[in-house]
């Protein structure tokens, strides 16, 4: 381990050029310059820059590769299903092998993977059964063991830690070294010193951070398999803005804690403690708490409930057969019962979904206490990999289920009509006559327009800004009352 490249005697750089009286921009600039020099020449700046670059590039690069294989798989699967559909020869082909819908991988998942990591890749709609996720066994289980190291994670956890490490001794460290006394013996107002520290520190960290972010944007632009539209660029830009706001908050927090403590070692412990609470504990405890306060039925519960409804339906339909009704009457009753079963199943699902929505809303509200949760929710929403995208996907699945059901029923009716008019026609030939692969239902495109996302996330962003202001104000008050000796 190398000691600090700057000899202790020359640290921090002298600030003898402070004007004797007044304040104003030139003084501020001098303080900012001093702060920046102090940071840039320090050991931590070197390590931070390296870590920042390495992690962001490694994370975005690897996730872009991951996105490429997802996208290739998606394209190949869609082509496969289209071929299957086109080669269907009988009603059984459609009903038994079902209609499979692929989930398009979101392009910005390389920045914020969010819920995309565990979302089902393809959904099978088979005759008279609830939609089913297929192909999940072809995933690497290690991916579920730990959070995805995407850009948002790097900013949320690593860069915020760097910010805290930059700032923990901003005030208390200078007090310990005695330079704070020296600095304040010049006639500089304290608020300028504080602003100078904040700006100097933030701008210094911004240098490596914005360089790595620029490299990330370049990667996104250069990767030929990502189709970046104007909207996606806007979303990316907004993710960057939210991230910078989030990082700035930790600078303000660092100064606040530093101005509240007397010794650098104490401010380090307190800063780390607060960082652990804000970044590691609170956002992750909030969903647990929400699950306790407003429990939602597990997916297995839902399917168990649905299959017992289905079984009861079958039983009563079988009962009809022995009841001695006429055939037409029985058909009518059966159709009625089938509809009732479908309705009950849909009710169970709707109930579960509304509970899940409530649960998420609660988790989100509880998470508001922590800026990290705000960052994760808003960035994943912006990348279309968040909660909103998840529910939109579920809605689209339900809509698709109805479409498929209607379509298959229509086909069946068409075949029956043909069979009535021409009794010699065999079922497969009738199917060939009625079936047109072009008419088969396709998944509806889930819109999630940018305006909706912004509306969804502006509360989180606003809160981040409020935290910034609050911490800065706190730092101001604490620094005004700070005993510099």
């Amino acid at each position: 381990m190398q000691p600090s490249p700057v000899p202790a005697s020359s640290w921090p750089p002298a600030c003898s050029s402070l004007p004797v009286s007044g304040g104003g921009p030139s003084v501020l600039w001098t303080i900012v310059k001093k702060e920046m020099l102090g940071h840039v020449l320090s050991y931590r700046f070197l390590v931070t820059t390296l870590l920042c670059f390495l992690l962001t590039l490694a994370s975005v690069g690897l996730l872009l590769l991951d996105y490429r294989s997802e996208k290739e798989n998606y394209d190949a699967s869609v082509a496969l299903h289209e071929r299957d559909l086109a080669s269907a020869e009988s009603m059984t082909d459609l009903e038994v092998s079902g209609i499979v819908v692929e989930r398009r991988p979101p392009p910005l998942s390389s920045l914020a993977k969010g819920m995309d990591v565990s979302a089902p890749r393809s959904v099978e709609f088979a005759y008279r059964s609830t939609p089913r996720a297929v192909g999940s066994r072809y995933r690497n289980p290690l991916l579920f063991l730990l959070p995805t190291p995407d850009l948002v994670y790097v900013v949320e956890v690593i860069v915020s830690l760097l910010a805290v490490l930059f700032m923990f001794d901003a005030v208390s460290g200078e007090k310990e070294r005695g330079t704070l006394k020296l600095l304040l013996s010049n006639s500089v107002p304290r608020d300028l010193v504080l602003i100078g520290k904040y700006v100097g520190g933030y701008v210094t960290l911004l240098l490596p951070l914005s360089a790595s972010l620029a490299a990330v944007l370049l990667l996104l632009h250069l990767a030929p398999w990502v189709d970046m539209t104007r909207e996606l660029w806007l979303r990316t830009g907004w993710i960057v803005v939210v991230s910078l706001l989030y990082v700035s908050l930790f600078f303000a927090l660092g100064i606040l804690i530093s101005a509240l403590t007397k010794r650098a070692s104490t401010s380090l412990i307190v800063s780390l403690f607060v960082w652990v609470i804000l970044v590691i504990v609170m956002p992750n405890i909030a969903p647990l708490l929400a699950a306790q306060l407003s429990p939602s039925p597990s997916p297995e519960m839902v399917s168990a409930e649905q299959s017992s409804i289905r079984r009861d339906g079958w039983r009563s339909m079988r009962g009809l057969r022995d009841s001695g009704m006429s055939e037409s009457e029985r058909d009518e009753r059966e159709a009625e019962m089938r509809e009732q079963v479908a309705r009950q199943q849909a009710d169970v699902e709707a109930f579960a979904r509304s509970r899940a929505r409530r649960n998420v809303a609660l988790a989100r509200a509880l998470g508001k206490v922590s800026p990290a949760a705000g960052l994760v929710y808003s960035a994943t929403d912006l990348a279309r990999t968040g909660v909103a995208a998840h529910f939109a996907f579920l809605e689209a699945t339900s809509a698709m289920e109805e479409d498929v059901d209607r379509y298959l029923r229509g086909l069946r009716d068409g075949i029956d009509d043909l069979a009535r008019s021409d009794p010699d026609l065999d079922a497969d030939a009738a199917f060939a006559e009625v079936f047109d692969p072009e008419e088969a239902p396709r998944p509806r495109v889930v819109g999630l327009p940018l305006a909706d996302t912004l509306r969804e996330t502006n509360m989180d962003v606003l809160l981040l800004a409020v935290y910034n202001v609050l911490f800065l104000m706190g730092a101001y008050v604490a620094f005004m009352r700070y005993d510099a000796t």
Partner: protein, 448 residues
């Protein structure tokens, strides 16, 4: 002398603000985490019994013993998942054999939405992330701080060897980190005992004990790394930065990046490719079967005989399709297993990943756990096939009462140990390497 040095180190840690903060943090986290995990386990248990009832009830609707083949099997929730949740929430709870003889999960699409946005705060998280940070904070100034304050020189002016000074620091420091851990474990044991739905056997207690050993090994390796860095740095301001960034890299970056590196290094075929291969098999076999049926049917006029021939050929073809599909899946599983192995190997650069793998293996929630259910299901199906072969369809459907039941066998303690021994050994190795490094650096260090 050695004992008094150890005592001094321990007191030095225990009497400071950071010890109080660490204890408070750990206790709050354990109290917030374990009860919620326990309640989640209770919910899973209810889901399991609901699933069992539904799936046993399905037997009543079966018309002949052959249909039993498609009976769903259920996996009870893992009691030890309350400590290390691992992949528990991603493992299938119920499996059913599909038409093609492949296991398929029985579950809808609804998943816990926030589950994949935020990691679950389980014991592995509390010890692995939070407590390791505590160990780092305890260690960073163990040597460099004393050098700065001048007490190191004072200590060395006594007739003690440097090795014993370092050893005392190590023992005293580790003891300081293990104390809050012990507190957590006492709390955990009480909560496990008190929670009614959890029936704890000797196996679970053994796992709890082994987890404690693993946690001590992990935390001491992080502490030793801190000692190493501290001895190598001149100033504690340098050692704290180095150590915190090392901690961030080792605990928050390397383990998470590893699976993505592995998937770039060892790509596996996607679901689409597997699907295409399987369809190809299907098409070829069906075409061959149709050709062979056509050949055999020439000259056969009896309708029943024709039907019997047709059915025989088609059944043989379906069995062959099932076998070939099984082979395709097997070859996929092999390449995926090698990708997982590479990912694990890379992640083992980080002691946290070793701890996580060891902990999930001990708690039976690791990467190999989801294969376990499908393996046991194929065993169960062999039993079912034998049963179907000897069981006659009777008009009163008496056979429904005699269908063999599936019972899931969780891994035994021996299996869990052998799955975790590599990672536990690596943790011991990390301890040794870091301690050796700290020793070498400390022996050469200047005291002033």
């Amino acid at each position: 002398m050695f004992l008094s040095m150890v005592r001094k180190e321990l007191l030095d840690n225990v009497l400071r603000l950071r010890f109080a903060v660490a204890c408070a943090l750990c206790l709050v986290l354990v109290i917030a985490s374990v009860p919620t995990m326990l309640r989640g386990y209770g919910g899973d248990l209810r889901t399991y019994s609901a699933n069992l009832t539904v799936h046993r009830g399905e037997l009543e609707d079966l018309r002949s013993p052959e249909w039993v083949r498609h009976q769903a099997v259920d996996r009870p929730p893992t009691p030890t998942s309350v400590l290390f949740v691992g992949l528990e929430r991603y493992m299938p709870r119920s499996l059913r054999v599909s038409r093609w003889g492949e296991p398929a999960t029985v579950s809808g699409l609804e998943a816990s939405p926030t589950g994949s946005l935020f990691p679950v705060v389980d014991l592995g998280f509390v010890v692995g992330i939070v407590m390791s940070l505590v160990a780092v904070v305890f260690a960073y100034d163990a040597v460099s701080g004393e050098r700065e304050s001048g007490t190191l020189k004072l200590v060395m002016s006594f007739p003690v060897s440097r090795a014993s000074v370092l050893a005392a620091k190590w023992v005293g420091g580790c003891a300081g980190v293990v104390l809050p851990l012990l507190l957590c474990w006492v709390l955990i044991c009480i909560m496990l005992l008190v929670y009614p739905a959890l029936s704890i056997t000797g196996l679970e207690w053994a796992v709890v004990g082994l987890l404690f050993v693993g946690s001590v090994l992990y935390l001491s390796s992080m502490y030793t790394l801190g000692l190493f860095v501290s001895a190598a740095s001149r100033r504690s301001a340098t050692s704290v930065i180095t150590m915190l960034l090392l901690w961030a890299g080792l605990s928050l970056a390397i383990p998470n990046l590893a699976p993505y590196v592995a998937s770039a290094l060892r790509p596996v075929p996607g679901a689409a490719e597997i699907g295409a291969q399987k369809r190809k098999v299907f098409r070829e076999e069906i075409a061959a079967a149709e050709a062979s049926v056509a050949g055999r049917l020439t000259g056969v006029t009896d309708r029943r005989e024709r039907w019997r021939l047709q059915r025989g050929v088609m059944e043989a073809a379906m069995a062959e399709i099932g076998r070939q599909r099984g082979r395709i899946d097997e070859s996929f599983d092999n390449s995926m297993n090698s990708q997982v192995a590479v990912g694990r190997a890379i992640s083992r650069l980080s002691p946290f990943a070793c701890y996580l793998h060891a902990g999930t293996a001990l708690c039976a929630t690791g990467t190999d756990a989801s294969a376990r259910l499908s393996d046991q299901m194929s065993g169960y199906h062999a039993t079912l096939d034998q049963w179907i072969a000897v069981t006659e369809d009777d008009p009163d459907n008496e056979w429904r009462r005699e269908v063999p039941e599936f019972t899931y066998r969780p891994p035994s303690l021996g299996e869990r140990l052998s799955a975790s021994v590599v990672d536990l050994g690596l943790l011991v190795g990390y301890n040794a390497i870091f301690l050796l490094g700290a020793g070498v650096v400390f022996l050469r260090t200047e005291l002033t």
